[in-house]
Symmetry: C2
Subunit: 485 residues, 2 copies
Amino acid sequence: MGVKITIVGAGSAVFSLRLISDICKTPKLSDSLVSLMDIDSEKLRVVHTLAKKIATRFGASVKFESTLDLEKAIKDSNFVINTALVGGHEYLEKVRKISEKHGYYRGIDAQEFNMVSDYYTLSNYNQLKFFLTVAETIQRFAPDAWLLQTANPVFEGTTLIHRNVPIKVVGICHGHYGVVEITEKLGLELEKVSWQVAGFNHAIWLTKFEYNEEDAYPRIDRWIEERSHLWKPVNPFNDQLSPVAIDMYRFYGRFPIGDTVRNGGWKYHRNLETKKRWFGEPWGGADSELGWKWYQEQLARVVNVMKRFANFVEENPSADPFDEKVYDRILSEEDRKLAIHFSAEIGNMLTSSKLSGEQHIPFIDALIGGSRRRLVLNIPNDSKIIPGIPEDVIVEVPVIVDEKGIHPEKIDPPIPQRILKMYLWPRMARMEWALEAFTTGDRRILEEILLRDPRTRSHEQVKKVLEEIMNLPENIEMRKHYSRV
Amino acid sequence: MGVKITIVGAGSAVFSLRLISDICKTPKLSDSLVSLMDIDSEKLRVVHTLAKKIATRFGASVKFESTLDLEKAIKDSNFVINTALVGGHEYLEKVRKISEKHGYYRGIDAQEFNMVSDYYTLSNYNQLKFFLTVAETIQRFAPDAWLLQTANPVFEGTTLIHRNVPIKVVGICHGHYGVVEITEKLGLELEKVSWQVAGFNHAIWLTKFEYNEEDAYPRIDRWIEERSHLWKPVNPFNDQLSPVAIDMYRFYGRFPIGDTVRNGGWKYHRNLETKKRWFGEPWGGADSELGWKWYQEQLARVVNVMKRFANFVEENPSADPFDEKVYDRILSEEDRKLAIHFSAEIGNMLTSSKLSGEQHIPFIDALIGGSRRRLVLNIPNDSKIIPGIPEDVIVEVPVIVDEKGIHPEKIDPPIPQRILKMYLWPRMARMEWALEAFTTGDRRILEEILLRDPRTRSHEQVKKVLEEIMNLPENIEMRKHYSRV
């Protein structure tokens, strides 16, 4: 009998289809039941329709169900993947707009070492609350299930769940693929590279980078010296070898990997001009007003394309939507131009046997006795994987996963003290502050966090911005929660 | 045979005479040799002259020597008390002035949770360097001696020495006397109070406060409710029950003690107006431009009075300078008006058998087999006295001292998590950053610290202020040191 895999927030089409495509390509999972859950029935329909077509294409006997009911989706699951963003991007933008009105460029949730524009840790009461709801529902209706915490903030969320709900939880992100990018840029063969990354989610560092068993950092240094002046971003997210990454490397002594590059301090983020200088023109990185607008537009276009795909399938049940000609017809010229990566990805998803690169399905496969896998996961620091970090904090580290469970690697060489004390400690403190606010409902903690914010000019400003955010119709519960103390 | 006690920076008259008076009043130390060392021979003469008169007055057979030579002073010492401020207040004021010109109100060393105006951790290269020089001199010329680290920054300095020089070191401050002040304000008998404080130097919290074995915090709450509106500071340092202390208590859940009250965040320190609101009129606390000016004036006057005392003694070798009439003649009306505390203290020093309240001599007395004592000392967190703080960090905690050594008390109840994570962690991180800068000579760390400073508007500003500070004639060594990386 196959396993039951639940995707919470399945309406996020590209992400869900990546997972579904991976499931269909994984022999051990060919009998699975995949439960798609979302509160948006229209988006759910799109994903459900396309999911079935993908399964057919790959000849997989995976079954799908879709539901608006969280309990039903989770009941008897073996694996629950939570990817839901409560309130959607719309909520994030509302909060950002209010924040900027009160002098908080890029929003109050943009904080030192946490500049990623949809990684809200302060104003996201509903999101954190929902994390707990999912975890508690698992505890009741599928107590043996693994929760794969994928929705942001992964660091805060996974730590919160780990401390409060006695279920099996792991945080999953894909940020460490920056290592592959560096390897390719240096013209190295990936199989000969031996690497480790360690830190927190969106805060990981290339602690080990060897080629043919020799330190390969000198190769990075050479690339920087000889080639970095030629660097230019091809999209706002293209920052792995940007000036900011190089500057962070020079200061901290190891390379920041993936979204870590986006998570420097205000030095790189003070304003658009500063962002452009460090992340390159024209966008100034993903987390500038320009970069994020680009991303939002891409996202909207992708959602639209997905809908058109689904409509086509429903109107032409017998046609093959993956036929080159149909595919051509569905994607407009504009879609192609903007969504280079996206269309390549669709192509891969539908036509190749290659997995998407997301770690979720390989993780599940390894646990149920498929292939043993090396992954980078967010797990408790129980066995002091990173010394100097408390045991109840979630760290992102390389692990081996097999039928017996998750086996963290020894981080060797260890994380340099400068990274630990000047980067990880402050980032960890912010995680703790956000959770202290959320778990106590003490509004003064949110105030205090903002009082320590360099954009703050007065206590009055702090009170006003929080007041306006909490007055949003979405935040009735949040407001109530933060009136308790 | 008596012990040899060395005071480095003995020119600081009031402080040295306090210690000397304590030594003369401590039977176990009556045969001691006290070595007074300073680089200012004039100040040294004043202290030496008065020291001898104090010994005579108390019939103590303590011997004194004074020297400008550090090695000579330290050689064969049993105890070395380092109280020297390299460059004096003059240097601090120079740096502050430069800083303020570049937009750093109260100086670049005024930082979140470290607002005390002579507790320099960034621009004090010479001071930290001298800490190491003293420690290394002890290691060579008096390897069994205890170093009593008294000069600020005690937290950074004691941790630095502990990690780098294998000698016996303890940090000593008097901040915990705030507990006595609270006790008096509440009208409680001190003997019936059971209390503990814990944290770092200038960052300690009243974790335990019982009266007749019952929690006495409700008594504080009642005082706040009924009496706090009547509070008014009698001098800039009079802040133990100020609005800022009460606000910190309300937020953190325990009372901040002593200089901890001065060490809140920018919420209380943003500008003079803010300081006045929280620390009271007219000064806005010790660390405002007004409060610090008051302190500087007091200090200058005290130095002057001491000099007049010494001159009198030298001109009238047979007269008793402690005769009420002489005393009257030496202190002007102005001296009396300004230096209320000071003159009371002089009176006590010269006429009473009561000890000064400084912990140094009781500490020494306890170690050499005099009275067993309960003190509050700065010692390594070796035995995890404060959980959640690394073992190589110096913590300030209550201890029992006897012939066998220092025995820390168990902190029970423990420090609340909110204090640990929202106050002690950030303060500790700043200590680590300052030491990382100092030990590596990497100027970029000083830049990075300022880049994280809310007063910073641009990288340019940071570079300029550091450049100007390092260009001071006092900072030739510092400049060289910070050019290494």
